[in-house]
C-alpha cells in the first residue's frame, strides 16, 4: 500500500532516540539493521569498528499507522548533519488526556516552544523540541 512515513537522521543516537520514542508511543522496534551487517559495496571504504553497531535502519509505528524511521548519519562516514527547525511531526491524538501525556513525555528533557493550550482554531495545541532535536506538534480537537 502506498504510504507516507517520516525518516529521521541522528548523528549516532538513533537507537537511543527510538527507545525513547518507544517509551512514548509503545509498539515494537522493527526493521533493525546495523552498519556492520550491511553488504560491502564495491568502491566503499570498510565500516570502522566503532561504527559497526550504529543503525542503518530502524522503524516504529507511532500513531494511526504512521511509521517513524531512522538512521545514524555519523560524521566519521562523511555526513554533515544540520538540525533544522523547518519540520515538525504533527500528532493528532483523540483526547486531551492523550495529548497531555504525549506532550509531557516528548518534551521531557527537551524544550517546550508552545505549552498545550486552547487555540482560536478550536484545538488544544502545543509544540516542543525533544531532547534529540526533533520537533513535534500536538493538536487535538477531542475532549
Amino acid at each position: 500500500m502506498a504510504r507516507v512515513s517520516t525518516y529521521l537522521n541522528f548523528a549516532r543516537e538513533t537507537e537511543e532516540a527510538f527507545k525513547f520514542y518507544q517509551t512514548v508511543f509503545g509498539g515494537e522496534l522493527t526493521g533493525i539493521m546495523r552498519f556492520g551487517e550491511m553488504p560491502a559495496a564495491p568502491g566503499m571504504p570498510p565500516i570502522a569498528d566503532a561504527d559497526k553497531n550504529l543503525l542503518v535502519h530502524i522503524s516504529l509505528e507511532i500513531l494511526g499507522g504512521h511509521v517513524l524511521m531512522g538512521t545514524d548519519a555519523p560524521s566519521s562516514m562523511g555526513f554533515q548533519l544540520n538540525f533544522g527547525n523547518n519540520s515538525h511531526i504533527n500528532l493528532e491524538p483523540d483526547t486531551r488526556a492523550e495529548a497531555d501525556r504525549m506532550f509531557a513525555a516528548l518534551s521531557a528533557g527537551g524544550a517546550v516552544s508552545m505549552p498545550l493550550a486552547d487555540m482560536f482554531w478550536g484545538a488544544y495545541f502545543g509544540s516542543c523540541t525533544d531532547k534529540y532535536g526533533v520537533q513535534w506538534m500536538v493538536n487535538t480537537m477531542g475532549k
Partner: protein, 141 residues
Amino acid sequence: MLNVNPYLNFPGTTEEAMNFYKSVFGGEFTAFARFSDSPGHEKMPKAEQNMIMHAALPLGNGHTLMATDALESMGQDLVTGNNYYINLATESEEETNRLFKGLSAGGKIEMPLNRTFWGAYAGMCRDRYGVQWMLNYDLSS
C-alpha cells in the same frame, strides 16, 4: 481519528511551495488560510498578513502534507536542516519515476533512483524549497 502528518515551515514561500507539491502530487488543498484570516492580524506587518497560516494537501491514504510560513515579526528564525525526510512508499516504478522527477526538478538529487540492496527501487532528493524526500518502491510488493 489518530493521525500523524509532516508539518513544514517556509520563510514566506509556503504558497509557492505548496502549489509546487500540488503540481507533483495532484489533488486539492483541504485548507489554505492566510494570517489575514486570523484574529489579531491587524497588528501584524502588512506583508505577513498575506502569508499562509495553514495549508494542507492530501497525499493519499489519509496522509496530509501541512505547512505554514514562519514569521520574522514573531522571532521565528527558520533553519532549514537535513535531519528530516518525508519517505514515500510508492506502488510502481512508473509512479516512483514520475514523483522523483517532479520533486527533484530544480532541487538536488542526493541518491539517484536505483535498485538497492534492501530490495527496493529507491532514491533521495532535496527539493528546491529545501525539503528532503525519500522514495522507496518495494520490488517484492
